[in-house]
Subunit: 352 residues, 2 copies
Amino acid sequence: MKLFAKAVLAISIAAIPPLSNPALANDEGILVKEIGGYHVGGKEILIKGLPSYETQYTPGGPKVTINPNGGFEAFQMYVQYVKLVSPKAKYPLLLWHGGGLSGVTWEDTPDGRKGWQTFFLKKGHDVYVTDSVERGRATWARYPEINKGEPVFRPKSQAWESFRIGPKYDDDPAKREIYPDTLFPYKHFDQMSKQSTPRWTTSDEATLAAYKEYVKSLPEACVIVAHSQGAVFAWDVARSMPEKVKAVVMLEPGGIPDPAKVDVDYSPLKGVKVLWLFGDLNTKYWQDRRTLLKRVDDKFKAAGGQSDWIEMTDSGVKGNTHMLMMDTNSDQIAQVVQDWLEKQGLMKGSSK
Amino acid sequence: MKLFAKAVLAISIAAIPPLSNPALANDEGILVKEIGGYHVGGKEILIKGLPSYETQYTPGGPKVTINPNGGFEAFQMYVQYVKLVSPKAKYPLLLWHGGGLSGVTWEDTPDGRKGWQTFFLKKGHDVYVTDSVERGRATWARYPEINKGEPVFRPKSQAWESFRIGPKYDDDPAKREIYPDTLFPYKHFDQMSKQSTPRWTTSDEATLAAYKEYVKSLPEACVIVAHSQGAVFAWDVARSMPEKVKAVVMLEPGGIPDPAKVDVDYSPLKGVKVLWLFGDLNTKYWQDRRTLLKRVDDKFKAAGGQSDWIEMTDSGVKGNTHMLMMDTNSDQIAQVVQDWLEKQGLMKGSSK
């Protein structure tokens, strides 16, 4: 019987593409067609009239005269892609990080497990991870001459509290207070903090422009999974080119304008499938944000949109933080996203 | 006959691991075991006593008070790895970028070809690409409170001339002068410039510390392919832990101290195999650097070291720039490296 099964396997491998064998995809590796990275968007800025100055590259080293004038590239973003030989998803999956972060968000979790990049590759998606303008490998330009704003550095205390890891941060790790049911691998919080990037003021417009150029440059439509500030950009990009964006997963979105205050036409979005996905919204700040986002969703639906709204607590899972792709049940949450994508008919073989 | 061949293939695939089929590795994809990224090195820095200030995240937006004090992670570096199911190399290959650049150096070339990351993956190496301290996804910390130095931005003109693309840069691309035989895809120079990162002064010590921590953290020995400033760090890391570094490929190295001026003991390096590799050293600056590096190599050999010295012009290839991993013959140069690694017995199945 065993021998017979082997013979059948041999014939089927010769007849069909290798990745159709699920064992190969999940346990024996990921069959990658292409991996690479590049920049998209941005423009040249010429700097003139600044004085030259002296500096040293190493303490005690020779004095070097620096002329800071010239042409510089600025406001581009960075894209890294992993394409599969045999994707099972109909469209590439784009992972967009939040504010003060970079694409590292989706890689190894702070406690060393595999992140969502790997999860979705194993589920058969081509996965594109980006660093938005001025962050990570997108790199940044001098200020105030090019960037009009300034870099703001998020202290660890702020991340601890606003990401809902715990009510109170302390410089001494032993004295940090967690929420008793937190699912963040809080003992590895400092490791997570190493990926924190400066966040620039007044760069939203340039960032949105780069994201639009990026999505426009893709040869086909896409699905966007976007976190926090990244979800705000995803929402705007989807609204401006709904034909290129089949679905948007809004992971704990950041500051989308309140429809009670700002009148935005959501009707262009109505063909885009939307999932709102949240952890455990156990603080007033996040409960207020939920109320505002409910208004956004209501308005989206009133304009003919189709959406789902999932809070992990609905199914009894408590303690998911703002960084749910790093929480100890990160695969469980990714599976919620995957199930939803399947239901939307976004995997191959679906009749939808 | 064709049918018979198919049957043989089917049997062999069932019997051996998929990647042992060279066609699969080269034409049908790369069988990846694991992909991911993380930070290594660095430490916490506490900032105290700075005044709070007001800013706006968006022009015309609400005023926000920023307290810049607190704990921050700083001086870490970023590592991204792609591990194969069946590596053919004995040790992972580490790609280290040069000054004012990031790991993007090794990804798609500015004109959209596949870079060295892909080349060496296809040759069967586990490939690790890094962003050194303060660059790219390593991210950076505030100055002058944490970084004592300052960020220096390289104007495009400086890259054009010092990378030996041409003798004279102009803001107008049509007026830029190239060396007639340049192999850099100069029409895509602006695209390359988008990956340029600020270069910090006085950060060498922190950078070297992070590189050492990185190599030390690897479970096994490694091979380092390092470019320009990165090669200086590779040289020092190999000297401090030669048991972890089997070979170093020094691609157009940066400022290694002149042995005529600084007495450094190279005997710890003698077990490390060294390849010095250069493009077309057609400027005085690079000819002077060659002279200095020859003194380094002489001293290394005098201490018992084994090295090879290759300039692409030796085999009649003119016009290779400092960015040889991006030049139009980048695969040819990568093959020179691969051939040398094979000769050193660093691929599996070698008896050396």
